[in-house]
């Protein structure tokens, strides 16, 4: 069956208010970037010990979520679940936009952002970071082609092949992102191959949470029908992904605790007295994991949009906490430089970090860039089906042949 796609009107007061708010945030972020780049990073909370700070938390969060947001499209193209087909276009859009926001933060936090051209022309192929640059650019190109094939009727027949390529590419991409940390042999907090699959599962959860929020918001604000069949399916899937993240987190920490070399940093994160322990248990595990699972699966709350929205938001907030614990917490604990010895002076204290305002607005600005990109493109291109009510969903499920 054919699904009719239609731009959003984008003339309401709400639309312009949203745009205005996002632009304000972006302007604030630009100010923050200028302040930090003009003065140098001394105005930030970062130091020689905490070399990656708040911008990286947001950047990696968005990049991970970006690859995950493409999953909805992959599920329909690769695994042939028709019910997700009408959501594919939006899935590609959310994915692209989140990637743009994330990469923007990453670039603007560089010591020399003016040398971006160097990063694009000089490659060290031994560096997982260089591979990531290639993977991001490739992802960008592939998703654009994929979207094009979904939009152009004559090319629709190729869209499932493009979807397969995009799916494989995004798995490699998140593996690469996880390996940025996983390959750091010298740091006890990171040196684990499980980082890569863990990042992939995190991407499933964060990407879907973003997607659910954007889907529900855009249908509500454009006053289009969105039925329970689709929303509940997405909700169930989110619950599974969140549980999977918890599983990987548990395995990672248990496996790490087993190595005597890592007990220091594990005790620091899991049972320490610093902020990271609180963020881990309360922020990441309870707020970002257990509470959303209860909200999604509790029989009394099933099908409640507001609750699902809350659960998705909590997954995202928990995700920020999780990356904060991984990135900042992992650096705060000193490296095991002299096994068998205790360092008294010169190195080895717990590094302190308090993010500056400029760093935080840069991170939030990245999110705003993603959202403004989504908002504008929804207005100019037909990403959203006119209706996704239960009747349409029912027809899609029962229809024969590929849903277009």
């Amino acid at each position: 069956m054919n699904i009719r796609y239609q731009q959003i009107q984008g003339r309401s007061l709400g639309f312009y208010t949203l745009i205005a708010v996002l632009i304000a945030v972006i302007l604030l972020a630009s100010g923050g970037v200028y302040f930090m780049e003009h003065n140098g990073h001394y105005v930030s909370g970062m130091s020689n010990r905490i070399v990656w700070g708040m911008p990286h938390v947001f950047a990696l969060f968005l990049i991970i979520a970006a690859s995950g947001a493409l999953n909805i499209a992959s599920i329909s193209s690769v695994f042939n679940k028709k019910i997700h087909k009408p959501l594919s276009r939006l899935s590609g859009l959310v994915s692209l936009s989140l990637l743009v926001g994330g990469l923007m933060i990453l670039v603007l936090d560089l010591g020399r952002p003016d040398r971006l051209i160097v990063a694009m022309t000089e490659y060290n192929f031994k560096s997982i970071f260089a591979w990531n640059i290639i993977l991001y650019n490739g992802f960008f190109a592939i998703v654009i082609v994929y979207l094009w094939m979904m939009f152009e009727h004559r090319l629709n027949k190729f869209s499932s092949k493009a979807g397969l390529v995009a799916f494989v590419w995004r798995l490699i991409l998140t593996t690469g992102t996880g390996s940025i940390f996983g390959f750091l042999v010298s740091r006890q907090a990171y040196d684990a191959v499980i980082m890569a699959p863990m990042f992939i599962v995190m991407s499933f959860a964060f990407g879907l949470a973003f997607f659910v929020l954007i889907l529900m918001a855009s249908y509500k604000w454009s006053e289009r029908p969105l039925g329970d069949i689709i929303v509940n399916r997405l909700g169930n899937l989110l619950g599974v992904f969140v549980a999977a993240v918890l599983y990987f987190v548990a395995v990672k920490h248990l496996g790490s605790l087993y190595l005597a070399e890592n007990t220091g940093v594990e005790n620091f994160i899991l049972f320490g007295e610093h902020i990271y322990t609180f963020l881990f248990w309360i922020g990441q595990v309870v707020l970002g994991g257990l509470v959303p699972i209860v909200l999604i699966y509790h029989p009394a709350l099933r099908g409640n949009r507001l609750v699902l929205g809350l659960a998705s938001s909590l997954v995202l907030i928990g995700g920020i906490f999780q990356l904060y614990v991984i990135i900042i917490g992992g650096q705060a604990y000193p490296m095991e430089m002299f096994p068998g010895k205790e360092i008294l002076e010169g190195y080895g204290t717990i590094a302190t970090y308090s993010p500056s305002f400029a760093e935080v607005v840069l991170g939030v600005g990245g999110v705003a860039v993603s959202l403004i990109m989504i908002t504008f493109l929804l207005k100019f291109l037909p990403f959203l089906p006119e209706s996704l009510d239960d009747k349409v969903a029912d027809q899609i499920i029962k229809s024969r042949g590929p849903a277009l």
């Binding site: 990073h41 001394y42 130091s47 010990r49 490659y123 940025i180 010298s186 096994p339 190195y347």
Partner: protein, 244 residues
């Protein structure tokens, strides 16, 4: 005039420009090389290294090393940076053995690994190792991503957090790039020894070519027991320690 269409015009100009550039660069670069008295490129027949005998160093001699390094390379006078943001090319580390309680004080600097993690991870090839084993940052290519600082097992690298001026002529440094001990490469290339080694004097720190069987460092390393920090990582450091 009518015969000259735009395509031809562009084609001709391009060819003309290209040929001028080629010829000009050919002339100048070759003649320039022929005329100058440049030293030969360094080779991997040498490998510069350092042996730090912790027993012969006192805390004040390590402070002297740090002072000499700051003086030579011009770091440490940053005004805005907080303590943990200031450059730390060489620092004094005090360690205590968990079993015996023995306390050692040692200078920590870039260990000039044979397999440097910082070089492996650098996306732009800015982090580099010279043929003679000296690990450097090519600030012309450094974009300030700080991934090398994440990768270094010794915490030896620093990020320049503020604007600088009045740098040393032989040691350009600037905001937004990463830096670390260069083993005083500008002195080594002139046949001198690093400033910190000179500051200690005597046998406390020995600098030399690890491969040269006649060098003092080679002969000493054959005689006495020495260690590499984090030798489990198998990085084969150029800086070795004895007495810890």
């Amino acid at each position: 005039m009518n015969k000259l269409n735009r395509r031809d015009f562009i084609k001709n100009t391009t060819i003309a420009t290209a040929s001028v550039t080629t010829i000009a660069s050919g002339i100048s670069l070759t003649t320039f090389a022929a005329k100058s008295k440049e030293s030969a490129p360094v080779t991997n027949e040498k490998r510069w290294g350092m042996l730090i005998n912790v027993n012969k160093l006192t805390e004040s001699s390590i402070d002297d090393m740090i002072d000499a390094c700051q003086e030579e390379n011009g770091w440490g006078s940053e005004v805005h940076s907080r303590a943990e943001q200031k450059p730390d090319w060489i620092k004094k580390v005090k360690v205590k053995d968990k079993a015996t309680g023995k306390i050692d004080v040692l200078p920590m600097l870039c260990q000039h690994c044979e397999q440097p993690p910082c070089v492996d991870v650098c996306p732009t090839n800015a982090s580099m190792k010279r043929e003679d084993g000296i690990v450097l940052v090519d600030r012309h290519l450094c974009i300030g991503c700080r991934y090398c600082m994440m990768a270094c097992p010794y915490g030896s690298r620093s990020f320049v957090h503020e604007n600088l001026d009045n740098q040393k002529t032989h040691m350009p440094r600037g905001k937004g790039t990463v830096e670390s001990c260069t083993l005083c490469v500008h002195r080594v290339d002139k046949g001198e020894i690093p400033a910190c080694v000179e500051a200690v004097g005597g046998d406390g720190v020995i600098f030399g070519d690890l491969y040269d069987a006649n060098s003092k460092i080679n002969q000493t390393l054959k005689k006495i027991q020495s260690t590499q920090i984090r030798s489990d990582l198998n990085l084969n450091t150029g800086v070795r320690y004895s007495g810890i």
